[in-house]
């Protein structure tokens, strides 16, 4: 395999542009919640493909198992029972996992060069061999996705099966999805497909059906079709207007060069002060005074 296996758009903690002249087509995964039956096939296929096995846990009286994302669970189903109209129950099941943002907060926050990579096809991938385990990606993520492993203290999350995609096959979750709730392809075509789905849902009385492809994170490469796009929060707290937190932007944005400059300025100031003014020595009068005293 070539050293540089995919075309890179962004590389964490790297100040110069990575090799990124070549453009692979932008891909996207669409999760159509109106078609999802919450069977967890995607979860299983993900674990199976990526050779992950979590501990066998306990049930807490809900269907969400495993309870949350972690280093062994890169995607989980989140079930919510919602009654928007009295007596009209909806069981909204959202597959949660990395959204593969256009402007990834994890990448922005990551201090380790090359630990987070955004390929030109849109996939945001973690490279655990470069990861130092600081957890800044978690801090940076608007969707609360990455997790640090308790075993090796590396950050893990959905890779959108970058290994499969680079070999020309769809991600494992997409391939397995029994109802076709998860689809994958060129982003442009996927959006066309999503629009068809939305039209179908509107025809079935879901006036607010829509696509979830938030601008605030530079749009995403994992998108949802929501029956109630006006209320993303009912889908187990899907953020309404996700974006990289201003605190993270400041911390990993302006603060970095400004503070570095400031420190440089302090150093330079001191240096030139010394050069121009010289040392602060005991004055000659006092020296003399003490010399005399001694005598």
């Amino acid at each position: 395999m070539a050293l540089q296996s995919l075309d890179i758009k962004r590389r964490s903690a790297t100040t110069t542009p990575p090799p990124g002249v070549r453009k692979s087509p932008e891909v996207a995964k669409l999760i159509d919640i109106s078609k999802c039956i919450g069977c967890k096939a995607c979860q299983t296929a993900c674990m199976e493909w990526n050779d992950l096995r979590d501990d066998i846990g306990k049930t807490t009286g809900i269907y969400d198992n495993p309870r949350d994302l972690d280093e062994n669970n890169w995607t989980v189903m989140r079930f919510s029972e919602v009654e928007l109209e009295r007596g009209k129950l909806e069981w909204l099941i959202r597959k949660d996992g990395c959204m593969h943002c256009g402007d990834p907060g994890c990448l922005k926050a990551c201090p380790a060069p090359g630990a987070v990579i955004q390929y030109s096809n849109g996939i945001v991938d973690f490279h655990e061999e470069s990861c130092i385990g600081c957890g800044y990606c978690i801090t940076g993520c608007p969707f609360d996705i990455p997790r640090i492993s308790k075993k090796d203290a590396k950050a893990y999350k959905c890779t959108l099966c970058s290994d499969r995609v680079s070999a020309g096959v769809e991600p494992a979750c997409v391939k397995t999805c029994p109802t076709g709730a998860i689809t994958f392809g060129a982003k442009e075509e996927i959006i066309h497909h999503a629009n068809g789905r939305i039209a179908d849902l509107k025809g079935r009385g879901f006036a607010n059906a829509g696509i979830y492809d938030p601008e605030g994170v530079g749009k995403t490469h994992v998108m949802y079709v929501l029956q109630h796009a006006d209320k993303p929060g009912i889908y187990s707290n899907l953020p309404e207007n996700p974006g990289i937190s201003p605190m993270v932007s400041l911390w990993k944005g302006a603060a970095k060069p400004l503070a570095s400059l400031a420190l440089g300025a302090v150093a330079a100031g001191a240096f030139f002060h010394y050069v121009t003014k010289g040392a602060n020595e005991v004055s000659e009068e006092i020296e003399k005074e003490f010399e005399n005293e001694k005598r």
Partner: protein, 808 residues
Amino acid sequence: MTNHWVDIKNADIVVIMGGNAAEAHPCGFKWVTEAKAHNNARLIVIDPRFTRSAAVADYYVPIRSGSDIAFLGGVINYLLSHGRIQHEYVKKFTDATFLVNDGFQFDNGLFSGYNKEKRSYDKTSWGYQKGVDGYALTDDTMQNPRCVLNMLKQHYSRYTPEMVSRITGTPKEQFIKVCEMLAETSASDKTATFLYALGWTQHTTGTQMIRTMAMIQLLLGNIGMAGGGVNALRGHSNIQGLTDLGLLSNMLPGYMTLPGDSEQDFRAFLEKRALKPLRPGQMSFWQNYPSFHVSLMKSWYGDSATRENNWCYDWLPKLDKVYDVLQVFDMMHQGKLNGYFAQGFNPLAAFPDKSKIGGALARLKYLVVIDPLATETSEFWKNFGEYNNVVPSKIQTEVFRLPSACFAEEDGSLVNSSRVLQWHYKGAEPPAEAKGDAEIIAGIFLKLREMYRKDGGAFPEPILNLTWPHQIPGKPSPEELAREFNGKALADVTDPKDKTKVLAKSGEQLGGFAQLRDDGSTACGCWIFSGAWPQAGNMMARRDNSDPSGLGNTLNWAFAWPANRRILYNRASSDPMGKPWDPKRKVISWDVKSGKWLGMDIPDMRPDAAPEENVGPFIMNPEGVARLFGTDKMAEGPFPEHYEPFETPIGTNPLHPDVISNPAARIFKGDIEALGTAKDFPYIGTTYRLTEHFHFWTKHAVLNAILQPEQFVEIDEELAASKGIKSGDRVKVSSRRGHIKAVAAVTKRLKVLDVDGKKVHTVGIPIHWGFKGVANNGYIANTLTPFVGDANTQTPEFKTFLVTIEKA
């Protein structure tokens, strides 16, 4: 399934009732989502629980578990009273015009001929009026009050929307909305499909629930149509195949039956089964029964089977009664069985009333378990604390546990729900010393045969003369066995119309069941599978998935029985004149030019039977048409009637309080005493499967154990509040037969129903846990279920029983 998985995409209305396709058959359910996406179909889910299927339904309707006949009978009443039926279809393709015997009666919950002591019916009055020529009488004007359609109308006139709502707990408006949606498909260019599974079969009235739905499909003209049909979504990967192969107590391969004690005469045995047409010109396909039967006996007993010895007729065991599993385990419990084999089957977990099953197994002298996994049954004698509290030293059963290969470690074929036989290939060796199933059977049989050959014993002839044509006798190969059930010519088989034309040379594989003969010149182990491995090779391994019609009938993919036909009764997809009811979904039609039935499927009709001949599309029935009137085929009556579950939460039957439950259902004496009442056990218990697990297997698979690690039960919020139960609490669920403890899941997906003026709660009990496996150990859910079965299939009533619940 009369139709097949992919065909669901052609439906306009999909009804899931008595099943939960999304949960239990997610990959088949895909075709429902395809119907919605590409055929603008509407999905209706009718279920006591808001299931995963309901999560993506257009319309969800709650119903009380076990009251489906009331609901469906109400639909029949709606369709008939509003005239929303496919009139021409009903008139020409069903027995609507047939006249019913005058002796036939229905009165206050009982049909004519009931015998209370025997809990069964004398069915002589359950038939059509017959003319002197032996044919059934009809009234094409349908004015005669005794004609089936009028009898039907009368029978279901009691099933008013009010009555339906009172029995089922379904709000009246919701019931009517379903009726209206279904009625749309009475149009000839609209079809509905019904998908069902164990949610119907596991009731004491299960078979009749299915029949009621089939009657609706006939009234709507949906059978034989692409996107229509009666579609049983079977539970296991080869439950269809094993049923096809007759692995049921009273069956032989290909839905042939074992003789009863009284059938001492071979001729009479055949004649009873080779049904003569009930109307002129009908195919009555079972007339070929002798060919199928004789070929089977030639396949099993080879040269020993001769015309002189009636093809070894007496070597077949005869039945004095049906030995279904409830019967057998009841006998075992009484100490009447000594030995038992469980091949890939876990009866301790799978059968009702676990303590009775455990007690029964403990009375055996020997138990042989053949399985890839360590099942509960194989360790029924071991103490697992509260989950299996037994004393090993008191159990004298010798137990053998033989490790078998799993699917990945063998070649062979499985029949899916679409009746498609698909060949699979071995990808790895079995672990350590495990062996393939056929090798294990051969190992036991050959030892036994050797003993009989050496020492003699009781009736050794069938054992000594059973054909065993295997290159390596101890290791019969799947190819050899598949070729055997396909059948071969023992002498040249010629065309009956032209004796000079040889269809199959002696020794060649047969091309299909049409080549079977009753003169001993053909051998065939399972007539409906004939054609799976003809002289040309293994049809089950075909992999051409092309679909020229776009309707999804991939005729060159593997092999479907019968005769590679994908949609049964497909003659009914065209009108009496042979023109498709709906040109957009033409399955077959009459081609005037060639004088043949042609289309995108193998015609379910004599290929040259011109429409003018009036050959009915239901060729297996001697009437040639479908039966709205069930004649004597069902145990509890020709028209389905609502009977309460044996453990009923309302304690009465609003239709006829004197006859509450199914008068012909399977129940044994000791088990009547073990039934609970609503006074002590006020809630409906219902058992079911979760999509993350497969029965009791996947608790052995780490991935699935991760997805649903621990036993739980589901209850509605109102019940939870009244008992002070919160999600995550441990609760104890008890029935008259025992208790289980599990984690509570409090959910909006279960609702209180208003039934006959009472508030009825449902406690949902997923079944997948036990005391063996990598998931957390749990109780066997069938500790709770009653030992009572359906009147026709004897399937236990796992879906409705009474329980109570408290915090553990």
